[in-house]
């Protein structure tokens, strides 16, 4: 298993939106997919995902429907709405700018060398 990374505050929503953007998922699926894509580096606290999902639904960024899972379990599936897609776009751009900026700062070398 890869080394665990600390989740930055405020990034959970971004991760969820991204995970759901790849295709409708139930709550547990969201967890699995994030773990999977991050190759196990990001392990979410299970209890924290649902309040976030609920909040995103309330904000109209996600849509929830009841459906059946691959192994025939009834579960609630989440998919991205149009505003959700737009928000994901914005957040990703913001993230890129931030990481780039932090990257510059961190890779800076003493002047004159």
């Amino acid at each position: 298993m890869a080394e665990q990374a600390q989740l930055l505050p405020g990034t959970l929503d971004l991760l969820i939106l991204k995970a759901v953007s790849l295709g409708p998922l139930h709550g547990y699926g969201v967890l699995l997919r994030i773990e999977q894509i991050s190759r196990g580096a990001l392990s979410l606290e299970q209890g924290a995902v649902y309040p976030a999902l609920f909040r995103l639904v309330r904000q109209g960024l996600l849509k929830a429907t009841w459906g059946t899972s691959d192994n025939n379990r009834r579960a609630k599936f989440y998919e991205l709405t149009a505003p959700g897609r737009k928000r994901l776009q914005e957040e990703m751009e913001g993230w890129d700018r931030l990481t780039a900026a932090i990257g510059f700062v961190l890779t800076a070398r003493p002047e004159g060398t």
Partner: protein, 885 residues
């Protein structure tokens, strides 16, 4: 979309509150199952896998709680959580919580008590059918509702405005239903009384106008419901039974309905007897005397008749009576009043007093709110770092405000509950309290739903008001600035609104303290006042020979025998008799008096209205009333001797122009009798209100103006219980059936001085409240300004400032506020005592003791209030403080 989601969640609140929760549970279950499926796939047993899945997920509650918070609705859970949080916060600072709760409890309690009194005494009706059209007829001239029986009969028979006019007159009687007579209060009522009020008997029948066939024709008695229960065990068989009232046989015909308490609000008679039997009951016929104002007249207006029309008609009738009977009637103009407080006679002063109390109570509430406002502001300042931290961590300002407000409301509710509890205690005590053991007086002031409602509304409103004070402060908070630099130290401005508010509040409190001091001084003076007699070491024995069945001709001999018998008691220094009642105890009968040369004895030409007493020879000795000049009475001043009187100095001044040379001169009574003044006494006190100007008074020898209802006055150093045993034994020897009531003159005086003392007591309590409020107010301000300047003080200490400097810096401002406020309050108090002098005996604020007392009290207040902040200021440890910041 957002709107849609919101509407959905709203809809779920209204349609199916539980649906959301059920869905949540369902989703979580799905999660656990899916996870368990995965674990089973990796080789775990099904049960172990499910267990593991549940553990991994952790507490469901957190999800539920956060989800719930986001849903519109669920108000109650949120409130409950806020309240829990507030209680936890308050428990962390108990001194703040206690100060706030005590302050508010006092204010709410005072308001609840005063409102209950208003509610019980003014707002509450008598509870009679169609009460809105029931009026009492009063004379405009003296605002008194008493009328003579002949005048009443004329008004009753001629009026067209009233359905029917009825009359009643309270009277104390002796009733014998078993072996020994017992005392009771009766209303002597006209035959149409019950019919005019429109009430039905609970049991048996009432007597009616048709039962009256002349004097002493209706020996019937109607019992009040409570008296029937307590004295006849609620036995229905008493109807038709004969009892003896003042030794005369009366038949019990009926019982009044349970809620009926007569027609004066806090005077509930035990029974009702026909007024036509008054001569038989009292031993002397007063029904034929048109000048003797005996009964209160009440009646329902006919439908469609306005009070103004009724008054016009009554005035016209009055004018005719004036013309027909000029000797007895003058200024017969009428007005209508509410019967519950017997018209303006009682309602006027009562309303004025209660109105004043309401004003003071409201002031106390306002003062309490400003106090709590500054306490809360101080607290918010102390917690500004905490609040800033919460803001920085993303708490919304709304949420923080909600927390502060819910803290205020929690305090308000607890304070309100404590205050209400206290007031219910006080009210219970008041409503079971019989201030005068001889009278059926009680105060119907128990708290009812209306009182609880008012207290609740006051609590919540005041909570929101004082909770709102620090809001601006919180809303302005810049979390980053505070966390970086600590609470902002306001540049000390010259004068802030808060300072002014506090000065005003201290002024109000100092005003309360001043008035209570003035009142207490007046009280202590009234205890040592010169009454014109000395009530100490005097025992009074009330007897009524008419009640005991004596005929007028036998009374003087019997009275003489009683005096002689009591004089044989060892230790009895002087024994005397006074007719009707000793001075001050009751408002005694008065009579117009005329100069000797007045030809026409009509009311308008009277020289004075004088209080009159009938006394036996040794009265002035027993009462220790000093004779200024002239002689005492002797037993030779009897019916066959020329009429004589002993008068006071005011009487002599009014009658003869000056007190000197009055001895030996004559004056005339309304019946034309010439009376010679043989002695003069100092003015003394004759009326219930000690603050009144001295009234003219005249004393007659009892043999010349006989009286059946008399008080024996016994001066003796002996102990009351021994003395009363001896007195009872002696009287029993004379006549076993003679009713008597024994008490000391001092005790009797206490009942008489009840009203002014009650007023003084009330003012005293309000003054104490004012003082306590000043303490919390100054405390709040000192604590606040100290917190704001703690850092500055730390630096001063670090730089080596002496303690005196530190104290001045920390507490100079609160002390200045206290100084200004107290001075203003003192000035207001001096002005207000003009008003006080109406109820308080010799109220004067220009009394060095009062002034010194107020200054001392306010100084103690300042010291108490600043003690804790001052200690904190002195203990400031610059190192900790600076490191902390």
């Amino acid at each position: 979309m957002r709107l849609l989601a919101y509407v959905q969640s709203l809809a779920s609140r209204f349609l199916r509150r539980d649906q959301l929760e059920a869905e949540m549970v369902e989703e979580l279950r799905a999660h656990v199952e899916l996870r368990a499926d995965d674990l089973v796939r990796s080789g775990m047993s099904r049960t172990a896998a499910e267990r593991q899945a549940r553990i991994e997920f952790g507490g469901h509650s957190r999800f539920k709680e956060e989800a719930r918070d986001m849903v519109a609705g669920r108000v109650i859970e949120t409130v409950v959580r806020d309240v829990q949080l507030s209680v936890r916060q308050l428990r962390k600072s108990p001194s703040f919580a206690i100060a706030a709760i005590v302050t508010l409890a006092m204010a709410i309690g005072a308001n609840a008590v005063v409102f209950s009194a208003v509610n019980g005494l003014i707002l509450r009706p008598l509870d009679l059918p169609n009460e809105q059209s029931l009026y009492v007829v009063e004379r405009t001239a003296d605002k008194s509702s008493s009328e003579s029986y002949p005048n009443y009969v004329d008004l009753r028979d001629r009026t067209r405005s009233f359905e029917s006019l009825a009359g009643f007159s309270p009277d104390q009687i002796w009733i014998t239903s078993g072996a020994t007579p017992s005392r009771a209060w009766a209303f002597q009522v006209t035959g149409n009384y019950f019919d005019a009020l429109g009430i039905r008997p609970y049991l048996g029948r009432f007597f009616h106008a048709t039962d009256e066939e002349g004097v002493n024709s209706a020996p019937y008695v109607v019992l009040s419901y409570p008296y029937w229960i307590t004295h006849f065990d609620g036995n229905a068989a008493v109807i038709g039974r004969t009892v003896r009232i003042n030794k005369q046989p009366y038949t019990i015909v009926g019982v009044t309905p349970e809620g009926f308490r007569g027609t004066i609000l806090f005077f509930s008679p035990d029974l009702f007897v026909p007024l036509v039997n008054q001569p038989q009951l009292d031993g002397a016929n007063q029904l034929t005397n048109r000048g003797q104002r005996l009964i209160a007249v009440i009646g329902h207006l006919k439908p469609g008749v306005t009070p103004a029309q009724a008054v016009a008609e009554l005035d016209a009738l009055g004018e005719r009576l004036e013309k027909t009977y000029p000797r007895d009637n003058a200024k017969l103009h009428f007005m209508l009043g509410r019967p519950s407080l017997n018209g303006d006679a009682l309602a006027g002063p009562m309303k004025a007093f209660l109105g004043g109390l309401m004003l003071l109570a409201a002031l106390i509430l306002v003062a309490a709110c400003t106090n709590l406002g500054s306490l809360f502001a101080a607290r918010a300042a102390e917690r500004s770092r905490e609040v800033a931290l919460q803001l920085a961590l993303g708490a919304s300002r709304i949420r923080i405000i909600r927390q502060l407000l819910s803290e205020a409301v929690v305090i308000a509710l607890i304070g309100g509950a404590v205050g209400l509890w206290g007031s219910v205690m006080v009210l219970h005590w008041l409503s079971v309290w019989h201030p005068f053991p001889q009278f059926p007086l009680n105060m119907p002031v128990a708290a009812d739903a209306r009182v609880y409602l008012v207290a609740l509304a006051l609590s919540v409103a005041s909570g929101l008001v004082f909770g709102a004070v620090p809001l601006r402060q919180v809303l302005r908070t810049d979390p980053y600035a505070i966390i970086k630099a600590g609470a902002p130290a306001d540049a000390p401005r010259r004068l802030t609104a808060r300072d002014l508010l506090l000065v005003a509040q201290i002024a109000v409190c100092a005003l309360l303290v001043t008035s209570s001091m003035v009142a207490l001084r007046g009280l202590s003076r009234s205890l040592r006042a010169d009454f014109g007699f000395d009530p100490r070491n005097v025992t009074l024995v009330e007897t009524d020979l008419a009640m005991a069945g004596y005929r007028a001709a036998d009374m003087p001999a019997m009275q003489r025998r009683m005096i002689d018998a009591l004089q044989t008691i060892p230790g009895a220094d002087a024994v005397a008799l006074i007719g009707q009642a000793p001075p001050i105890l009751f408002v005694s009968n008065g009579s117009r008096v005329f100069t000797e040369t007045t030809p026409d004895l009509k009311p308008a030409s009277a020289a004075a209205q004088a209080v009159m007493y009938s006394v036996s020879p040794d009265y002035f000795l027993a009462a220790r009333t000093r004779l200024v000049s002239g002689r005492q009475f002797t037993w030779h001043d009897d019916a066959s001797a020329p009429r004589v009187a002993i008068v006071n100095q005011v009487f002599a001044r009014r009658m003869f122009g000056s007190p000197t040379g009055a001895i030996g001169r004559f004056y005339k009574m309304p019946d034309g009798a010439r009376v010679q003044v043989v002695g003069m006494i100092p003015d003394g006190k004759n009326s219930l209100n000690l603050a009144d100007e001295p009234q003219p008074a005249m004393f007659f020898p009892i043999l010349q103006s006989p009286y059946s209802d008399t008080w024996l006055v016994i001066r003796s150093e002996r102990d009351l219980s021994q003395l009363s045993t001896a007195i009872r034994a002696k009287l029993h020897e004379l006549d076993p059936g003679l009713p008597s009531f024994i008490e000391t003159w001092t005790t009797a005086m206490q009942a008489a001085l009840f009203a002014p003392r009650m007023a003084s007591l009330t003012l005293g309590v309000l003054g104490a409240m004012g003082a306590i409020l000043s303490v919390t107010g100054i405390f709040g301000m000192a604590a606040y300004s100290l917190t704001k300047r703690l850092k500055e003080l730390g630096i001063r200490v670090a730089l080596g400032a002496p303690q005196r400097e530190i104290l001045r810096a920390a507490l100079g401002r609160p002390f200045k506020v206290l100084l200004f406020g107290s001075a203003a309050g003192l000035v207001l108090g001096v002005l207000a005592s003009r008003v006080l002098s109406f109820i308080v005996y010799q109220a004067t604020p220009r009394d060095p003791i009062v002034l010194a007392g107020v200054v001392l009290a306010m100084f103690v207040v300042g010291l108490t209030a600043t003690w804790i902040p001052a200690r904190r200021a002195l203990l400031v440890d610059p190192l900790i403080l600076l490191r902390d910041e």
